[in-house]
Amino acid sequence: MKLYRILFGVVLILGFALGYKGFIKYYPNLLFKGAERKIGGAENTIRLGDLPDHKSQMIVKPNPDFMYVSCFFNLEDGPLNLSANISSSNYWSVAFYEPNTVNFYVKNDEQFQSNKLNLLIADKGKLPQKVDKDIELIESKTKKGLILFRFLVNSSDVDDVNKIKQIQKSIEIKRVD
């Protein structure tokens, strides 16, 4: 009987450890899934965002100075090509996230050599052997993830807002055959 009590105690502690570690490890994935559900839209589809305000309840801590563009990607059917023509002197950046919320790539306008954004995202170990020299290759550790553009905008300047909206429309994502 005493042996069983010890075993039961061990099982309880084991359960505690599993619950604790599991929660810490997978909680970010749950939050990411929640964000995906709230933002909506199909995978590998560009979603244009407006200027955040108090009604923007999709992602915590939105920056009201930024207009966002998001795309939940899925590389199961092959690499994706992300392209855009971004002629803006304002700050902008493009960031890639794993489903565990880790930001594994970020690059801003000053780090790109040209207004023409041309990225190829592939699953780990599946980068194409040959690509045009103006294409930047990005290897993703995970098949799924998020692409997030941030465009700094002067929210009180309608022309600036409209200009960024036009630029956002140039963003495209398509599968590479």
């Binding site: 039961f8 309880l12 599993l18 604790y20 570690k21 599991g22 970010p28 939050l31 100075d65 950046s93």
Partner: protein, 192 residues
């Protein structure tokens, strides 16, 4: 059979308790651990390398999902005033500071739920471009956080029981990265 059932139930109970404890510990970040370092009223993470710190990743997910890595931006957050009292819209605060050596910087006010605080003016933040400076060199400034309208640099506090101010420094100078604990950050004083 009965003992197997007990073992299963204990395992399940243990997992539940472990999950609740992890959730509790995440809520305690900033209160009783050294995950967040301080510079005045401003808290910051020594690193934003979330790939190597699962606990920090879980916490950041809760308060700032989809944060960027250090190479792009440094975040400082203040949720209490100079006296150590939590920020609340039942008080007014004066944030006094000077410009930062960064490509873009801003102050944004958030409610307890980490979302923007509703207000009639639709003002949620000030940045290096739209803040009104006190001097012609565009260096020093004062922001007033209050639920009541102010003449300029007014960050409306709405009806927030608890608030926090997030300072974002995009592409800061190298010395800022190296001196997060020592660079001059704004003071945040209760004024009534």
């Amino acid at each position: 059979m009965k003992k197997s059932l007990i073992a299963f139930l204990l395992l399940f109970a243990g997992m539940l308790i472990g999950g609740f404890w992890a959730n509790f510990k995440i809520n305690q970040v900033g209160k009783d651990n050294d995950l967040i370092l301080k510079n005045g009223v401003w808290g910051y993470f020594p690193t934003m390398d979330l790939a190597t710190n699962e606990f920090q990743k879980a916490y950041i997910g809760r308060i700032g999902l989809l944060a960027l890595q250090d190479s792009e931006v440094i975040y400082f957050v203040a949720s209490s005033d100079q006296e150590g009292d939590p920020l609340s819209s039942s008080n007014d605060y004066k944030l006094t500071g000077s410009s930062f050596d960064a490509r873009y910087w801003s102050f944004t006010l958030y409610g307890e739920d980490h979302f923007l605080i509703p207000n009639d003016k639709g003002v949620f933040s000030y940045n290096m471009e739209n803040i009104v400076y006190k001097d012609s060199l565009k260096n020093s400034y004062e922001l007033i956080i209050s639920k009541d309208p102010k003449k300029e640099n007014w960050l409306p506090a709405g009806e927030a029981n608890r608030m926090s101010v997030l300072l974002r420094l995009y592409n800061p100078a190298k010395y800022v990265y190296e001196n997060k604990d020592a660079i001059e950050l704004p003071t945040l004083k209760k004024i009534n």
